[in-house]
Symmetry: C2
Subunit: 232 residues, 2 copies
DNA sequence: CGATTGACTCGTACATTGTACCATGAGAGT
DNA sequence: ACTCTCATGGTACAATGTACGAGTCAATCG
């Protein structure tokens, strides 16, 4: 109850400088702003991963003092939330005609979502442990609407949406995590460490060596989509 | 390249005390051991979540000095790896007769896996960003073997395994994350925060309010399993 | 005009973390 | 008695998130 505005009020509501007339900035450091902070955070995350983002580093990149950030942002958590939502920005459907064929449409949609997350490899893991921002909700909404328009019964809608969500999330998280770990850590365990042949099936199918992520993703997705029945 | 044994050699190979004859311990603090460390770490994780596990706290719970841990363990990361693998310990299949019906068998298997992760809510998120330990590999192996025995063609095996893995991981991570966040953070965003009705489909289907996790999980899983065809 | 206010910046300071380094002790083998 | 290895743990340090409060500057009000 004590301090500040703690929550939804005040502070970063009014922009800054309120669009100052001519040009007191626009060259070196255009002062601070939520947008700039978030954009820089995304860059840092892309470049150095989740652990690479520290408030100090962020401030350095912005050419400001560390504590200045805290005027625009409550805490580091919020930086994560905002960066996440910004990275997964959702540009509406290409151009939805009238659903000529819904399955490829949904597949395309989910592939785009997945591609977006892969472009920012930190995002998938973060998304799973964080509140859903407006952009992700937008994607969910579009997915639901498309399925519904395709004729999926309301009773089956949630199952369909969640199944797809789960699948995409799982696939993307696994993928990014393998990528990151593949270089050092997991290499020790996955790649060579099957001396006695304790895992014959895995070894035979070369499960952990399979590099065709896109293909596997697509096929599994088709499997799921095939199970989703329009009408009933 | 400098220090210690850096990697796979020495140190915690020989147990400890080499099974000392009578009883210099077994009451207050039975000295340290990898097993005790890992077990306590799991308890701490269960009780306080990922952030609640600190080396100091772990040492306190064990009644030892902080640095003593580092004789048994390289670093905190390794504690996580070990705790994870220990939490997901895999007790073989109940009793595999001869595959009377493979689909329920696989479903049971995956539900058990999921239940195991839900019993340790920190494990799902951790598993996704970490190398696979022997216990998880064991589960994967059993899954693959079962599918293979059920007649899934080798060419389709990887897709089937990964699809199921992805689905289970996504579902479980989402579930635990919603649980954790549901109390405070996400409540602000998910539950009431749809004033203008920006997400009509989501709202109508009550997607984010649906609490029937088990049912949804099961149905989605059935969807997937139905798509996996034995033989071809 | 000067005083006040409020938006915004940032240096200092602190608590908390992982862990490097080093000193210590216990038991076994010589 | 000595030394060697196993094992413990205290001290110390660097990195982090962030509370606190002092500073700046422009707009507003008297």
């Amino acid at each position: 109850m004590a301090a500040k505005r703690s929550g939804a009020l005040g502070k970063r509501s009014g922009r800054r400088k309120m669009a100052s007339p001519s040009a007191p900035e626009q060259h070196g450091e255009p002062s601070l702003s939520l947008e700039r902070i978030v954009a820089t955070a995304v860059d840092l995350l892309d470049a150095h991963g989740v652990d690479g983002l520290t408030m100090r580093r962020l401030a350095d990149c912005l050419g400001s003092g560390v504590m200045s950030l805290y005027w625009h942002v409550d805490n580091k958590e919020e930086v994560f939330d905002l960066a996440l939502d910004s990275a997964l920005e959702y540009r509406g459907p290409p151009r939805t005609a009238e659903t000529p064929d819904w399955r490829p449409e949904v597949a395309l949609m989910l592939e785009d979502w997945r591609a977006g997350m892969l472009r920012h490899p930190w995002s998938a893991a973060l998304l799973s442990s964080r509140a859903l921002g407006p952009n992700i909700l937008g994607r969910l909404e579009l997915l639901g609407a498309t399925l519904s328009r395709a004729g999926v019964a309301d009773a089956d809608l949630n199952v369909a949406i969640w199944s797809l969500w789960n699948y995409v999330m799982g696939a993307t998280i696994t993928r990014t995590s393998f990528d990151v770990a593949g270089n050092d850590r997991s290499a020790t365990r996955q790649r060579p460490a099957h001396p006695g042949g304790a895992y014959p099936t895995i070894q035979r199918s070369r499960l952990l060596l399979d590099d065709d992520w896109i293909g596997t993703f697509r096929k599994g997705l088709d499997l799921l989509l095939a199970g989703i029945a329009p009408r009933s």
